[in-house]
């Protein structure tokens, strides 16, 4: 029975991970064919770094992720502090609104934002993609900062005011230092999500401004090239590392 249980779990995990593992292995295959193993090589990785399209997409992806993480962390942290201090009813309203971008399917979020940009005649491109990324990042930042605020002694802020601090001073010298771990987690989460996003980017950019995900998608529709394997493998590893770090941080904070 015990063996059977382990076997079962093993099979499911095998199903979940074998495509990724195979993909990573193939990215080191020297030959072009997927059918034969022609020896270990970094050939596709080299080609990857000499492909101007991919390099361009990489720069766009990273800069969008960095900027989106930066702005969403600032907006989200202040928003969390504000929402935390609200009375119950507006607080519930805000938390519900905050949930919309997280619960809506990506395709609906993407399309509604696309309609917004069409309606306001903003040309879709880098800026619109950045705005869209900030929009879906902020809720996660708020969700990371909120628990820290709840853990805080609810009188800390008042104690600072009581000792003569202005609200601004109290915010920067008392509240922010106390919630900093949550802010950092939130920023990392925002960065990862932004790096990871495909659907929303797909609808809020134009074909000339591609991030890695949309580039992979447009190329994969024509069939998978070995460089795509290499690129996917790299992204997998990067995301995996980021996720594990974020995961560990959250665990530590809970402890």
């Amino acid at each position: 029975m015990k063996l059977f249980k382990r076997l079962y779990l093993g099979l499911i995990l095998f199903f979940l991970y074998i495509p990724i593992i195979v993909l990573i292995v193939q990215s080191f295959n020297a030959g072009k064919s997927r059918a034969k193993w022609e020896g270990f090589s970094f050939r596709w990785y080299e080609e990857l770094f000499h492909d101007p399209n991919i390099m361009n997409a990489l720069v766009i992806t990273l800069s969008i992720a960095l900027l989106a993480a930066l702005f969403s962390t600032i907006i989200g942290t202040f928003a969390a502090i504000g929402i935390h201090a609200m009375k119950r009813r507006p607080q519930n309203l805000m938390l519900t609104l905050n949930n919309i971008p997280m619960t809506m399917p990506d395709i609906v979020t993407g399309i509604s934002l696309m309609l917004l940009f069409i309606f306001t005649q903003v040309e879709r491109g880098f800026v619109t993609m950045l705005l869209a990324h900030i929009t879906f990042d902020v809720p996660y930042v708020i969700l990371s900062v909120m628990p820290k605020l709840k853990q805080m002694n609810k009188h800390s802020y008042e104690a600072a005011l009581d000792l003569g601090a202005t609200p601004m001073y109290a915010l920067f010298h008392v509240i922010l230092p106390e919630v900093m771990p949550g802010v950092i987690t939130g920023a990392m989460l925002a960065f990862t999500l932004s790096l990871d996003d495909f659907t929303i980017s797909y609808f809020t950019t134009n074909p000339l401004v591609q991030n890695l995900s949309t580039l992979i998608y447009s190329q994969a529709r024509k069939g998978i090239k070995p460089t795509m394997n290499a690129l996917s493998a790299l992204m997998f590893v990067a995301l995996l590392v980021l996720l594990l770090v974020v995961n560990r941080r959250t665990k530590e904070e809970e402890a």
């Binding site: 002694n153 009188h155 104690a159 600072a160 005011l161 009581d162 000792l163 003569g164 008392v174 230092p177």
Partner: protein
């Protein structure tokens, strides 16, 4: 005494979502006085404190400080400081930076800050704790730091919101004495909030008993204990026997089926009243000489005295006595007129409370 009023609350009312938390509070606090707001949780005592501290604004009424209306002044511009429930020390700062927080904001020179912090640490018996992280301190030590952090700013009034609530009994008793001594030494006005009647009796110059957003009685500990104005105060402060009765005429009250002589007058004739008798004021006498007779139902040893419940037919009497009578024996009970306290009956609160129980 008028000119010594430091803080006065004038017709303060406060509502939360339709619930009345404070109902027309009027109160003044003199300089160097130790005033305690006492009452069960939800009576409005903490809200009163927070209005004085500036963390809440009253819906109506004024807060006067030294003759000036401070109702609209934010907390950081008020000359009061607060010791918070659970201390609210800043966990990212060490002991010294916690205490120096307010002084740094006042742009005080560094050496003066250092001197004051040293002095405060000495005052609260935590010399040499400068560099310690506040989270490494015990509850009692954190408590002292919280007091030091507030006092170092030399406030005109120190507000304390159940500061000893999180400490164990022994430590609490020590801190009560220490706080009282500190207050007398520094000559600062203390406004103290607690639900612990013993704490209030031990430390205060003046006790303000609150319930349901109203002030029930203001007075010295002794006057509140000896002359409670209604059954709630009598019940909340110390233990008491409360009997419904009728004022036959001045200085004669009828309850438990017997007429008792008393010292109160001015209640009118044949008017319903509440009668309060403290358990330690009831004398156990021979069956033949007692004003009331009863059977001892139970005896509990309480350390300094025995607590006996005596069934006198239609009423149960709680009696504290240093001598014990065996269970089941018949005894006589007597009360000297001076120890019978007559109060106007509580119209609303009392019956509803009984229903809840």
């Amino acid at each position: 005494m008028e000119e010594q009023r430091l803080i006065s609350l004038e017709n303060i009312s406060k509502h939360y979502d339709g619930v009345t938390v404070l109902d027309n509070i009027n109160l003044y606090i003199r300089k160097k006085e130790f005033v305690t707001l006492l009452g069960p949780s939800g009576c409005g005592k903490t809200t009163t404190l927070r209005i004085i501290g500036g963390f809440e604004t009253a819906d109506s009424g004024r807060v006067m400080f030294d003759g000036k209306d401070i109702s609209g002044i934010p907390p950081y511009k008020r000359r009061v400081n607060t010791v918070f429930q659970k201390y609210a020390l800043f966990p990212h700062l060490n002991v010294r930076d916690n205490i120096a927080f307010g002084l740094k904001l006042k742009k005080m020179p560094k050496d003066e800050i250092a001197r004051k912090v040293d002095y405060m640490l000495e005052l609260v018996n935590l010399k040499g704790y400068h560099k310690r992280s506040v989270e490494s301190l015990s509850g009692g030590q954190q408590q002292r730091i919280a007091i030091a952090r507030a006092l170092v700013n030399e406030p005109e009034v120190l507000l304390l919101d159940e500061p000893l609530g999180a400490l164990d009994l022994k430590l609490r008793k020590e801190m009560q004495l220490e706080l009282k001594a500190m207050q007398q030494r520094l000559g600062i006005t203390f406004l103290y909030v607690t639900h612990d009647q013993e704490e209030a009796l031990t430390m205060s110059d003046t006790i303000v008993v609150m319930q349901g957003g109203k002030i029930l009685q203001i007075g010295t500990p002794k006057s509140i204990y000896d002359e409670p104005q209604n059954a709630f105060v009598a019940n909340f402060i110390g233990e008491s026997n409360i009997f419904p009765g009728t004022m036959v005429r001045d200085e004669l009250v009828h309850f438990c089926g017997v007429d008792f002589p008393c010292v109160d007058s001015g209640f009118g004739e044949d008017k319903p009243v509440d009668v309060v008798i403290r358990p330690e004021d009831i004398l156990l006498v021979g069956e033949d000489v007692g004003q009331v007779t009863g059977v001892i139902k139970s005896v509990l040893f309480k350390g300094v005295h025995y607590e006996m419940m005596i069934d006198a037919g239609h009423s149960i009497w709680k009696v504290h006595s240093t001598t014990m009578q065996p269970e089941g024996s018949r005894v006589g009970l007597a009360v000297v007129p001076f120890n019978i306290h007559i109060m106007h009956p509580m119209e609303d609160e009392k019956p509803t409370e009984e229903k809840n129980q």
